[in-house]
């Protein structure tokens, strides 16, 4: 097979990889924020549920979670297609790591900010969304960026439940053409380029968010 053909097949796989990232990332962010906030502010029983979710998904490996959702859930009468299983498994897994990012960033906002917002008679919701969150968000961007790259890397696992992502395309091309060197070399470079692009956008986002904060006065 010619090099150009190999690259074009692999690029099709890369599109699937990007699709999975685009679907799993919002899910991960939603999980991270909801369970991160529950872990911080909810009452005891809800907190326990959040801790269970976090410990479970951080304590077992992503591939096992993926297999469990794909192979075991059908036994409970819940049959889902491979793509949904992939998005759910990766989203929940990365989301569990994200809860700690949310929690850490909120806790890193100086205590004086809480106290000042109480003194100014803000309601609890206002305190969270207008005072704490805008500052915490800036702290969250770098670790969330790392998690997003972890997500891109983790998408390679979905090839093992037969989704035609970049890794899957590479594996099947390698099996048929035996041009393993070129194929896996190109794949590594493609993943690297995706991660670097993502990093570029994250850096810009971080700059933009912290700019808005600077206007507010003291930012430690």
């Amino acid at each position: 097979m010619e090099f150009g053909e190999i690259v074009s097949v692999l690029l099709q796989g890369a599109v699937v990889t990007i699709e999975i990232v685009a679907m799993a990332l919002p899910l991960a962010i939603i999980m991270a924020f909801s369970f991160g906030l529950i872990r911080l502010y909810a009452s005891a029983p809800f907190k326990q549920i959040a801790i269970f979710y976090i410990e479970f998904f951080r304590g077992t490996s992503a591939l096992i979670q993926l297999y469990w959702i794909y192979f075991v859930l059908p036994f409970f009468g819940i049959t889902i297609d491979a793509m949904t299983a992939a998005v759910v498994a990766l989203g929940l897994n990365i989301g569990a790591y994200g809860t700690e990012v949310v929690r850490g960033a909120i806790q890193s906002v100086p205590k004086g900010q809480f106290e000042a917002s109480i003194a100014l008679n803000f309601t609890a919701t206002q305190r969270l969304w207008r005072i704490i969150m805008p500052q915490a968000l800036v702290n969250m961007i770098p670790p969330f960026g790392n998690l997003a790259i972890e997500l891109v890397k983790a998408t390679s696992l979905v090839s093992l439940i037969t989704i035609g992502d970049l890794t899957f395309k590479a594996k099947s091309l390698a099996d048929t053409t035996l041009q393993v060197g070129e194929i896996f070399g190109v794949v590594l470079v493609l993943y690297f380029v995706m991660a670097q692009c993502l990093m570029f956008f994250i850096k810009r986002l971080e700059k933009r968010l912290s700019k808005g904060l600077g206007r507010g006065g003291i930012h430690s």
Partner: protein
């Protein structure tokens, strides 16, 4: 609706088989972490090399390894290396892949650990006319190790949780074993759940162990002799 219930008898039948496969998982993790620590130190020390070319190239190598998936690296080592005349068994491939991947992560931990040593320590070592090797061996590393323990431990646990990916190159570790059992009996519930629980238990135990290790480690450093 077959399999809706949890079959205890089947679970106890499967348990010893999974447990024996756990040995392979643990062996891969152990050898992988030793290799990762060595590679991490090599990368970290090369990043402090006086030549800018070496520093920069090592930086990009580490960046490249860190931002590409372990699974693809495993495939690369397993399928591409034989083209260069290097054929390795699945276990050896796995140890190399895990070691390289996490070595790249650990190099950042080691680098910041070494950077964290006060300037005065380096200057004192220089004033005492210690060789470069002695400075690292007797002054820097003994003090740098304690603050490195938590992060290193976390990466080793993370590595442990990525060993199931070695099933993709047919290494008979826990997950691969569970998959085989599952496909033979048409029941995935018990084997996969069991493997998940094993991972949970092992990682919690390891996290506890690392915490203990850190607590017992002398704050003022220790002798490497």
């Amino acid at each position: 609706m077959n399999g809706f219930h949890w079959d205890w008898a089947f679970m106890w039948e499967v348990f010893p088989i999974i447990l024996s496969a756990a040995k392979v998982t643990l062996l891969a993790t152990l050898l992988g972490s030793i290799f990762a620590i060595v590679m991490g130190l090599v990368f970290a020390l090369l990043r402090r090399n006086s030549s800018k070319t070496i520093r920069l190239s090592v930086y990009w190598v580490v960046e490249f390894i860190r931002s590409t998936p372990l699974l693809v690296q495993i495939f690369f080592l397993y399928y591409v290396m034989p083209e260069f005349g290097i054929s390795m068994s699945p276990l050896v491939t796995g140890v190399f892949a895990l070691g390289l991947h996490y070595g790249a992560y650990l190099s950042e931990v080691f680098r910041s650990g070494i950077d964290g040593i006060e300037k005065g320590q380096w200057e004192a070592a220089r004033a005492l006319n210690l060789s470069k090797l002695d400075t690292y061996k007797d002054i820097v590393l003994p003090q740098a190790i304690r603050p490195m323990i938590p992060a290193t431990g976390n990466y080793i646990i993370a590595m442990f949780k990525e060993t199931p990916q070695l099933s993709a190159i047919t290494l008979l570790e826990m997950l691969q074993m569970a998959k085989i059992i599952g496909s033979e009996n048409f029941r995935y519930l018990e084997p996969f759940t069991l493997v998940g629980v094993m991972y949970l238990v092992f990682s919690l135990l390891a996290a506890f162990g690392i915490h203990q290790l850190e607590r017992r480690f002398p704050k003022e450093g220790f002798s490497l002799k």
